[in-house]
């Protein structure tokens, strides 16, 4: 097992001991990243609950853009398989979805199921200079652009300029899919896009489909919901899970100097944020390197070194992935369990000692 403390290679027990002592000293620890299999995400929430940490995810900007819109206006959503099988018109919103593998599948095949089976698939683009049947660069920004298309779909704007034509094609379609990247479109844009899907569903079938999530955020959302009843950004400082997307934003907390220890969970490889180096940190990562954090513990990658339940982008569900190249690296869940055992034995400082 690969482990490093302050850049020096060491054994697992010493690294776990160093990590436990770093977390035990902390007033406000944060467990961030959460890019891991379901067992490790569960273990992270268990550890957070026992040490009073707060939790944040690697892709929370996009996740919260989606969740915030969902919590207010609901969502009409489809899955990749349904989109590939049924959609005869696809509106790609923004530039980011063009990088998604799903788009190639949509461009390369015709719909095979439902009322549109066998017809050609029309690809429309808003907010990107893309090669599509109709492309509108939308200089006023994505949110405004989606709003304009929605105004045409409602009949509040009329004319045959490009957004008007896009709205007309969506209305004429049998099964429309609005493809977007939550982090790029943002909360206001997603709410507007859901509104567009709802307007279109008055006259035809139309759904939204988010692509391009970071890490395992899509797995964290249901796991945090079944463990805490809340969305991922929760804190356990006052013993009960409190949900506050602003207060428990890990990047904000580090910038404001409110955090004194971070545990980064990246068993499924994901880019580490810049702020990680600015605070005492422990990293549980599959691609272990000595400089990743103050304490680095190499863990197995679920689906490669050991089996695990991960978000399956293609099926839009949590599925089990067996080990493709089994190794003796420990799972992130087992390391988090060992940390929890050490910290429970060592007991953190009780609440309400004189603090100022």
């Amino acid at each position: 097992m690969a482990a490093w403390v302050k850049g020096g290679a060491t054994d697992a027990g010493t690294a776990i001991g160093a990590a436990a002592s770093l977390l035990a000293r902390a007033r406000a620890p944060v467990i961030a990243g959460l890019s891991a299999d379901v067992a490790a995400i569960r273990a992270a929430y268990d550890l957070a609950g026992r040490i009073g940490a707060s939790v944040d995810t690697a892709g929370s900007a996009g996740t919260y853009a989606d969740l915030a819109s969902l919590s207010r206006v609901g969502a009409l959503t489809s899955t990749p398989a349904e989109a590939v099988g049924r959609a005869d018109v696809v509106l790609v919103v923004g530039a980011a979805p063009w990088q998604a593998p799903l788009l190639k599948r949509l461009i390369d095949a015709k719909p095979t199921r439902g009322r549109a089976a066998g017809s050609d698939r029309l690809v429309l683009a808003v907010g990107a200079n893309a090669t599509a049947s109709l492309s509108w660069p939308a200089e006023g920004g994505l949110v405004e652009a989606v709003g304009v298309v929605r105004a045409y779909a409602r009949g509040h704007l009329a004319g045959d300029d490009i957004p008007g034509q896009i709205a007309a094609r969506l209305i004429a379609g049998q099964y429309g899919v609005l493809l977007y990247d939550p982090a790029e479109l943002g909360e206001a844009g997603i709410e507007m896009l859901q509104g567009l899907a709802m307007e279109l569903s008055e006259v035809t079938r139309c759904f939204t489909l988010a692509v391009g999530g970071v890490g395992q955020d899509r797995a964290v959302v249901p796991v945090s919901a079944w463990l805490t009843g809340q969305a991922p950004r929760s804190g356990f400082g006052r013993r009960v899970p409190e949900h506050d997307p602003w207060r428990f934003d890990a990047a904000r907390q580090v910038a404001a100097g409110e955090v004194d220890a971070v545990l980064w969970l990246g068993a499924v490889p994901v880019a580490r944020p810049d702020w990680l180096s600015r605070v005492p940190s422990v990293a549980l990562v599959a691609d272990g390197e000595a400089q990743a954090a103050e304490v680095v513990i190499g863990v197995g990658q679920p689906g490669r070194d050991h089996g695990g339940v991960l978000w399956n982008e293609q099926r839009a569900a949590l599925t089990y992935w067996p080990a493709s190249a089994p190794s003796d690296l420990p799972s992130a869940a087992s390391v988090l369990g060992a940390l929890r055992e050490r910290l429970v034995r060592g007991q953190a400082a009780p609440r309400s000692e004189a603090a100022c």
């Binding site: 405004e144 304009v148 105004a151 356990f236 409110e258 000692e353 603090a355």
Partner: protein
């Protein structure tokens, strides 16, 4: 007048939800000093960070604010709280009555969900002032929010009732507005984006979305009444309404019953 005097910067974010004149008037000095206001596992009691002086009155002064003081005056129903200094997020959230005065700056979500009373911020306010917090259906809901300095982005997001006055505001002022009145001397891009109903009165603005249509200049009795109502709160906002006004209607992406008045 009861007074809490900050002795030094708080070591963690503090939650002032339960600190209001009515609650303190029923407690002894010792009980007040032992009130738990910390938010981490270590915790902080009121007496750890503040010197406490009580007189059972309906006025509370917090001497020496800090941007880590969250939910100051939240759910306040009567009495007055005055803070000399800054406060953190959710100032006066869910407030139903009374008055809140801040001499410094406020964090995000000031006056979110406030149904009554008056909140005055002498300095600047963060993003989503008078806006809705996560999963909340509405932002400001009947209270009066006055920001003498600048406000961040999304001022009055999803506000449903009440009045907001601000100096300069960031982008998306009045976004997704349900109803109510918002006046600002200047705002950034995309004012009123996604608004359903409600009234925005602006001295100047950035990019106006294509989903707003200009409907001409009007001289309405309502505008004179509004000017009269605003004069007592802020003469410079009332003066905006004395100028010739262009009216925009929108947001056409929604039911389009909102209006934006722009001083020419």
């Amino acid at each position: 007048m009861s007074t809490l005097t900050l002795r030094q910067a708080p070591p963690e974010r503090l939650d002032f939800l339960n600190i209001n004149p009515l609650a303190l008037s029923r407690l002894s000095q010792g009980e007040v000093e032992r009130l738990e206001i910390g938010t981490t596992r270590t915790g902080v009691r009121l007496g750890d960070c503040f010197s406490v002086s009580l007189d059972k009155s309906d006025t509370l002064t917090i001497e020496g604010g800090h941007e880590r003081l969250d939910r100051v005056g939240a759910s306040l129903s009567e009495g007055a709280i005055r803070v000399t200094g800054d406060v953190g997020q959710r100032l006066g959230a869910g407030m139903a009555g009374g008055s809140l005065t801040i001499t410094g700056n406020a964090g995000p979500y000031a006056a979110s969900g406030a149904t009554g009373g008056t909140i005055t911020i002498a300095g600047d306010a963060g993003d989503y002032a008078g806006g809705a917090v996560y999963a909340a259906k509405v932002g400001l809901d009947g209270a009066t929010l006055i920001i003498r300095g600048n406000a961040g982005a999304h001022l009055g997001d999803r506000m449903r009732r009440g009045t907001i006055l601000a100096g300069r505001a960031g982008a998306m002022a009045g976004s997704r507005m349900i109803a109510g009145t918002l006046a600002a001397l200047a705002v950034g891009d995309h004012p009123g984006l996604g608004m359903r109903r409600g009234t925005l009165v602006l001295g100047a603005h950035g990019r106006m979305a294509a989903t707003f249509v200009e409907t001409g200049a009007h001289d309405l009795v309502f505008l004179r009444l509004l000017s009269k109502a605003l004069r007592g709160l802020s003469p410079e906002h009332a003066d905006l309404l004395a100028k010739p006004l262009r009216r925009y209607s929108g947001d056409l992406a929604t039911i389009a019953k909102g209006e934006i008045w722009v001083a020419a």
